[in-house]
């Protein structure tokens, strides 16, 4: 069994600050991490390795710096790692990213399960999983909470949405997107870390390697474009009362609620 797990390196958004004057992101000094939902997906893949001896292949797209998360995946137990890195991939939106990933995944046939995180914490789109599935003409299950593999080549997948959960039966090959909050990823092992840096190699694939029409890749292959970005403007502040007693404070609130017809 071969499981392909897609990973994205992202800035840790909890560490991001906004330049108060320019309204732009200050990215300096912000650590890059393996996207949390993707890490949960990797855990699900590694559990398939533990139980069924699956080969776990991790796949990422990005600058050479992204080899860091592939080595991290090796240290957690992944067997093979590929980084799509080429200026032709740069500036890709979700569709162009999916074109590249789908091209690489086709090169990795035969595969059984493709696992991604539900969404990345920098873009928060949750689109690359379903778009890649469509380009590969494979079924998808998104918002996956848990997975049970059956020897007959089907999976029982629990999909969790707002007001209900579904238990779904799906034939492999299939694309799954995993909910980070439902899975606790394992730590890297010491032996794994040593192996990741001493023995294992990250394969670097350029655009030529994946047999995809270059007009569907990178900025050129992206239907959407960022017109502008700006720091979030907070709503104008009202009145904050310091140095009032509890009774005075309560009265101030009551008056405001009466004034706004909220009672």
């Amino acid at each position: 069994m071969r499981v392909i797990c897609c990973l994205k390196q992202v800035p840790d958004t909890t560490e991001i600050k906004i330049d108060p004057v320019k309204g732009t992101l200050i990215r300096e000094g912000v650590p890059s991490i393996m996207n949390p939902d993707d890490k949960a997906g990797l855990e699900v893949a590694l559990q398939l390795k533990d139980k069924y001896g699956a080969e776990v292949v991790v796949l990422s797209m990005g600058p050479m710096q992204a080899t860091e998360i592939i080595r991290e995946a090796f240290a957690m137990g992944a067997d093979r790692g590929i980084l799509l890195s080429d200026f032709k991939f740069a500036g890709a939106d979700t569709l162009a990213t999916s074109s590249a990933l789908a091209g690489a995944i086709r090169k990795l046939e035969p595969y059984d399960i493709i696992i991604m995180g539900r969404q990345a914490i920098d873009g928060d789109t949750a689109q690359v999983g379903p778009e890649t599935a469509e380009l590969l003409d494979l079924p998808q299950v998104s918002y996956v909470k848990s997975l049970e593999y059956k020897e007959d080549g089907t999976c029982l997948v629990t999909r969790k949405v707002e007001d209900r959960s579904y238990v779904l039966r799906v034939k492999t090959p299939v694309v799954l997107t995993v909910l980070g909050e439902e899975v606790e990823p394992r730590y890297m092992s010491v032996a794994g870390i040593l192996k990741a840096f001493r023995e294992m190699e990250v394969e670097i694939w350029s655009a030529d390697k994946i047999d995809v029409d270059v007009t569907t890749l990178g900025l050129k292959g992206s239907p959407t474009q960022v017109k502008q970005s700006f720091g979030k403007q907070l709503k104008a502040a009202g009145h904050t009362y310091d140095n009032v007693s509890a009774a005075e404070g309560a009265k101030l609130i009551l008056e405001a609620l009466i004034d706004k017809n909220l009672l």
Partner: protein, 332 residues
């Protein structure tokens, strides 16, 4: 691509158990505005099972045409059958704009549909603006709500967007509005439908879903076991509902379904009372659209005060009981 061949605004309605979800009415409100500005018409694709009866109500809320795809194969949401149903209409009609609710259903269906159409999709938009020529400017938060980005699709049509629930406003129903209902038959391509439902586990629906509440009393890190009953009592006298920040979920004060913010739900009640909520940007992203915000916090520098209409720097244990008394007195 000949852009001018693509016309009109299409909303993909979301149904669950035969009931059209509120987000679809919100999209109609925005869709109406876009259609009027671009001198075009507003259409709804209503797919599901036993949903025909909802068509008139969608017209009353702004639709010019409701395209009904009613089939037993669409009883519960499954990706492939729904994408097939919607795709068949979209391929024929060639919309300029398609709006989908950014729910777990919409965010599963829309990217699959956009990829099938080889067009762009902008996720989880909180603001949509249109030019008279029909170009759509789609604004959405990114980087955990730290940054807003405006996205365009200059050379591809349809222009597709999923829209965050609770952000757009629905129109008042007008039963005099006229519109047409078109029935479309649906033939499922079964060999392509490789996912089957084994079981559906419905969560018990509580009557107090925070996304529907008009008044929310929201608790944060500053509310502990000792003070939580005060928040519950305040909610009771206001006929409000309890919600909270991620911190209050992490420490077990409230359940995850009540979480407001980037990783929880977006709410826009008439009144939002934040008790001991510091106001991290991820939290503000989920509530700052509330009509009126009251904050009580002992930390005068808490960011929640930047969005509060009325802020009181003070101790929850003293201010909240006093407020409860004032409200009770007033209501008598």
């Amino acid at each position: 691509m000949e852009l001018s061949a693509y016309k009109n605004v299409y909303v993909i309605a979301e149904t669950r158990d035969g009931k059209v979800q509120d987000v679809s009415y919100q999209l109609l409100g925005k869709g109406r505005e876009i259609a009027d500005k671009t001198h075009s018409s507003l259409h709804v694709i209503l797919a599901g099972y036993n949903i025909k009866n909802a068509a008139q109500d969608l017209i009353a809320h702004g639709a010019d045409e409701v395209i009904v795809i009613d089939s037993r194969d669409l009883q519960e949401y499954l990706t492939e059958p729904y994408v097939q149903a919607v795709y068949s209409v979209v391929e024929e009609r060639k919309p300029n704009i398609i709006l989908v609710g950014a729910t777990s259903i919409g965010r599963d269906l829309a990217p699959r549909l956009s990829a099938r159409l080889r067009t762009g999709l902008t996720a989880d938009c909180t603001k949509l603006e249109v030019e008279e020529d029909g170009s759509l400017f789609m604004t959405r938060p990114a980087f955990g709500g730290n940054l807003m980005a405006t996205i365009i699709s200059p050379n591809h049509r349809p222009q597709m967007s999923t829209v965050r629930p609770g952000v757009m406003k629905k129109l008042e129903a007008d039963s005099q509005r006229k519109g047409t209902v078109t029935n479309v038959t649906f033939q499922l391509d079964r060999p392509k439908s490789l996912v089957e439902i084994v079981k559906v586990i419905r969560k018990v629906q509580s009557s107090d879903r925070i996304e529907d509440a008009k008044i929310l009393v929201s608790v944060g890190r500053g509310i502990c076991q000792e003070t939580y009953p005060l928040a519950v009592e305040l909610a009771k006298v206001l006929n409000g509902t309890i919600s909270g920040s991620r911190a209050s979920v992490d420490c077990g004060t409230i359940e995850q379904a009540r979480q407001v913010g980037q990783t929880g739900k977006t709410v826009r009640p008439n009144l939002y009372i934040a008790l001991g909520v510091s106001g991290a940007i991820q939290h503000l992203a989920g509530m700052e659209e509330s009509d009126f915000i009251v904050a009580i916090n002992k930390d005068r520098y808490a960011p929640i005060f930047k969005v509060a209409d009325v802020g009181i720097v003070g101790d929850i244990k003293q201010v909240v009981p006093a407020l409860i008394e004032e409200i009770k007195k007033y209501k008598q």
